[in-house]
Symmetry: C2
Subunit: 146 residues, 2 copies
């Protein structure tokens, strides 16, 4: 068991909020101007998808490290589809495109990404309760530029 | 159906990442120094709890507005307990303490918070797949200072 503490304060307007973790790291959110927001930060549900991508990025970096693959850089593009269910929404389809720079074998990249989404990433296991998560990857072999 | 786009890039070190939504709003994350992180941002799973709190804050503000309650400020303190399940973790217990400033009737505050957690907040409905969410609230009546 581990305990997490989050404190949320209003910064301005109706919905411009600052969330802080126990170490004081800040995340800024706001609501859509359509409901009275001032568009000064990400939307709350976007934080969940950012949590998915960053959690999975950590897994992939760690697993490729253990597999002695030389990873120089990583980017992830995510598209997430939400469906309105009466009063709230559910994530339905999430697609993650991993871009990996370095000398990395394709089968090792696939294994690292699959392990993250199937077993290690806490946010992925949560989102899979309502959504299907699909992945693809592109290896940008930077050895050619060396 | 609505589509969300998130792009994640590495900023420094192994795990210091910047996530951007479609409008360019940035959220900074990093991993724990224990696994090689540099502690420059929130942890990925913390973003999910920040998503819960900020999503619920928006609901509560909107519902109190409809109920013609005068809300001057809002803060939320959240404690979330995660349990390790073999390779990943699941949220188990989440407690949210809402602080509301203004001239607000207690029954209206309770109703707004309950409606958010039971029906409106998308992130709450997701987290309830594995966690129980409990709430309490404190009304700080600022009319006395007027």
């Amino acid at each position: 068991m581990s305990v997490m503490t989050i404190n949320i304060e209003r910064n301005s307007g109706l919905f411009h909020l600052i969330s802080r973790n126990g170490l004081g790291h800040e995340v800024v959110t706001d609501a859509d101007p359509g409901i009275g927001g001032t568009n000064k930060g990400a939307r709350p549900t976007e934080l969940v998808i950012m949590g998915l991508g960053t959690c999975s990025a950590i897994d992939v970096v760690l697993i490729l490290q253990k597999q002695r693959q030389s990873l120089n850089d990583i980017k992830i593009e995510i598209k997430a589809v939400k469906e309105k269910i009466e009063t709230y929404s559910e994530f339905r389809e999430i697609h993650m495109h991993f871009h990996l720079w370095g000398q990395i074998k394709a089968n090792k990249a696939k294994q690292a990404i699959d392990l993250s989404i199937d077993k290690y990433c806490t946010v992925a296991q949560l989102l899979k309760k309502t959504a299907s998560i699909t992945t693809e990857f592109t290896i940008h072999d930077t050895s050619k530029n060396g």
